[in-house]
Symmetry: C2
Subunit: 428 residues, 2 copies
């Protein structure tokens, strides 16, 4: 029987969840895993959760050092979010000889290198299953089962807020209303900027790129585009063409470079990610031998994420367990400009004869071939008409250049949308 004494720093949503599940399942976990988990102390700046969970005074502190420097605590669970105080907590814990568990992808993505030096100095361990895909076992699965093989790529729906919004928008609800609905349903925070602009997903791409390929990236290496320019009409058009629009986090080794990006993408209905709707997340990893593997479930929420944290407590207490953060190799960055894809292009035009001809003319000049053009203005009440163009395969750079030329036309509204079509890569 292994005894693990833990301290929880941050009693927000996930912290409360960890407390609750451990209370409920402590005996069962002991029996199943031979691990006896004891919460020695909890820390928060507010006492509200302490009162709600009826945590004894002797087990509560407002000073995180009472946990990071407690000799009896083996493992510190950092669940306060952000990157400044969270880093101080992590540093103090590791330097004081504690193992560290975190769900903080921003911290891992932005301070990875520093965290790694701290771990090297102390010889202590870190685990972060909850940082990607919330409750979905993905970090552990990569470590235990997938890395046996060479990983070619991952593609994931890794932000529940965005996925919930896009799913709502496919039911003809516009972005702002969908965002508000997501907030009411508890799937979006009051401030969901980092979700919607793709940054949260980019952090997860950094974490997964390290785990899957052993490559050190920074958020700024990752082309990142959010979902706020998408309309429900786009989702409708995409569906009629046999596609869904999803915000994807992508990492792959291509031409000996690392191609890592976050953007909305059109994916075919037969892509296993296409059926991942509402608040659900999924990560599809393609590797040699094993082929495509997908992990699907709740990517956020109190109890799912807390469950992932608890799996880390058990994992980190294993003899010989070792999970590195950043100490990876460098690889040249594959530039988005060089990405060859079919593209979905939506332009809003003044509805006047001849205008569409001018558009196709400019595309032609850039040697962009067109697969399909759709003008769907049935329900349109404004003067401008959205025109959807599916291009044949071309480089992002070329299509983007053509788009700049199009934007200069007086009759084109200045919110065009350019989305790559990502096919399900299940062979290399």
């Amino acid at each position: 029987m292994k005894k693990v004494n833990i301290g929880i720093i941050g009693l927000g949503t996930i912290g409360s969840g960890v407390y609750k599940i451990l209370k409920e399942r402590k005996a069962e976990i002991k029996k199943l895993y031979n691990v006896d988990i004891n919460i020695l102390k909890c820390c928060d700046i507010s006492e509200s959760t302490k009162r709600k969970l009826k945590i004894a005074n002797s087990k509560f502190t407002k000073d995180f050092k009472k946990i990071t420097r407690d000799k009896d605590i083996h493992t510190v669970i950092e669940l306060i979010g952000g990157t400044s105080i969270a880093y101080k907590v992590l540093k103090d814990a590791i330097l004081n000889g504690k193992n560290l568990i975190t769900a903080n992808k921003a911290l891992l993505a932005e301070r990875g290198k520093d965290i790694n030096s701290l771990l090297n100095k102390s010889g202590k361990r870190i685990a972060y299953e909850a940082s990607v895909g919330g409750g979905i076992p993905v970090i552990g699965v990569i470590e235990d089962s997938i890395l046996i093989n060479k990983i070619f790529s991952f593609q994931g729906i890794m932000n529940g807020t965005c996925n919930y919004i896009l799913s709502s928008m496919s039911k003809k609800i516009e972005f702002k209303d969908a965002l508000n609905a997501a907030r009411r349903a508890g799937f979006a925070e009051a401030n969901s900027t980092l979700d919607i602009n793709g940054k949260d997903t980019a952090h997860k791409v950094v974490v997964l790129s390290k785990k899957c390929f052993g490559i050190d990236l920074k958020s700024k290496d990752i082309f990142t585009q959010g979902i706020d320019n998408i309309t429900s009409n786009d989702l409708d058009c995409a569906r009629n063409l046999g596609y869904k629009i999803k915000l994807l986090g992508i990492g792959r080794i291509f031409k000996n470079k690392i191609d890592a990006r976050v953007h909305p993408a059109l994916i075919r209905q037969d892509n296993p990610l296409a059926n991942v709707d509402n608040e659900f997340n999924a990560i599809l990893i393609n590797s040699k031998n094993l082929g495509p593997f997908m992990s699907y479930g709740y990517g956020a929420g109190m109890l799912p994420t807390a469950s992932a944290v608890i799996s880390d407590i058990i994992r980190i207490s294993r003899d010989g367990y070792k999970s590195d953060v950043h100490e990876g190799k460098k690889l040249a960055i594959f530039k988005i400009d060089d990405l060859e894809r079919k593209f979905y292009l939506r332009i809003e035009l003044e509805d006047k004869s001849g205008n569409l001809g001018k558009i196709t003319n400019i595309l032609g000049k850039h040697k962009i071939s067109i697969d399909k053009i759709i003008q769907n203005n049935e329900n349109n009440k404004t003067k401008s008409v959205p025109v959807i163009i599916l291009t044949k395969k071309n480089r992002f750079k070329i299509v983007n250049k053509a788009l700049s030329a199009l934007k200069k036309l007086k009759f084109v509204a200045n919110n065009p949308l350019l989305i790559p079509i990502e096919d399900f890569i299940w062979k290399k």
Copy 2:
């Protein structure tokens, strides 16, 4: 660095795969996992694979005891299939102090109790990731991440042959042609009886019921129905109603009984399992806190399954690793007769006025309410017409009884089909 000396017994498809991947990835696995895996000896009754893989004479034997009794071998990998010689191999290995890895679900399902006594006697370990879902990490994920929470149910597409056939049939190919296509594509064996009649899936349900619920089942406890009575017209009708037909293996705790069954089921298009097509497998596990989790990938094939076997080699060599087979508790069996579901009922009738009325009359007498009736005889060239009836919720026993009465009618062909509709259970 942990040194693990293994012997492989059975150089069929999976055995060859293990040999190949280890040859390719030995150095990388050593680096990533701190485990140095050495194949000391391989055994097969034929020398053909030995020649193909260029295995040295000194590393090859036709006598499995040269492996199970080799003092230098720590872990024996049994990959010969079947339950008689395979059991002898397993017994000899465990009693001679070896850990055992197997992909053999039939062996686990039918000799589980005996295997468990052997393990208790020897104190040795067993691992069987490859026995369910082929290459898909599922046993390990349940152990490491899901069992932290109380598991309510699992539902899975666990037979690639059946799924490939059903996917083909949804493209208007009839059963026999679909089966032949599956054979040509390498997704069905020459003898695929156990696949098609659902027995293979039932074996996996036994293994998962133990893993998820700790419950000892036997194959005979599991209501098992195969797919050979399904027509491409059924798949077509189901699709028009918003459903797919999949062969599901199901286990759930219901009213303090174990409800374990294998049968074709109608599932809604928004069920994450509905998009699992062709040779792919997926297992959806629903647990408290974590909610629904799905694992998706190749459920068979040389390299995916071999990859799962290798993950077991690493797993079994962990300090403190313990994976039990059968030593579970008993629970009363929930009888299929008591299953309350909506049902899909297909009856072929002589196309004559009044016949349909007689059918609905009999259903009415059994107090079976009807949601929908569809008569789809557009492409029908025979005298009989398939009639599809979707019932409202009712007990299997009642609907089955009505079906017996219907079969007695002279104008009803004797191949009616009765399939439950399984909704996606994502809350308890």
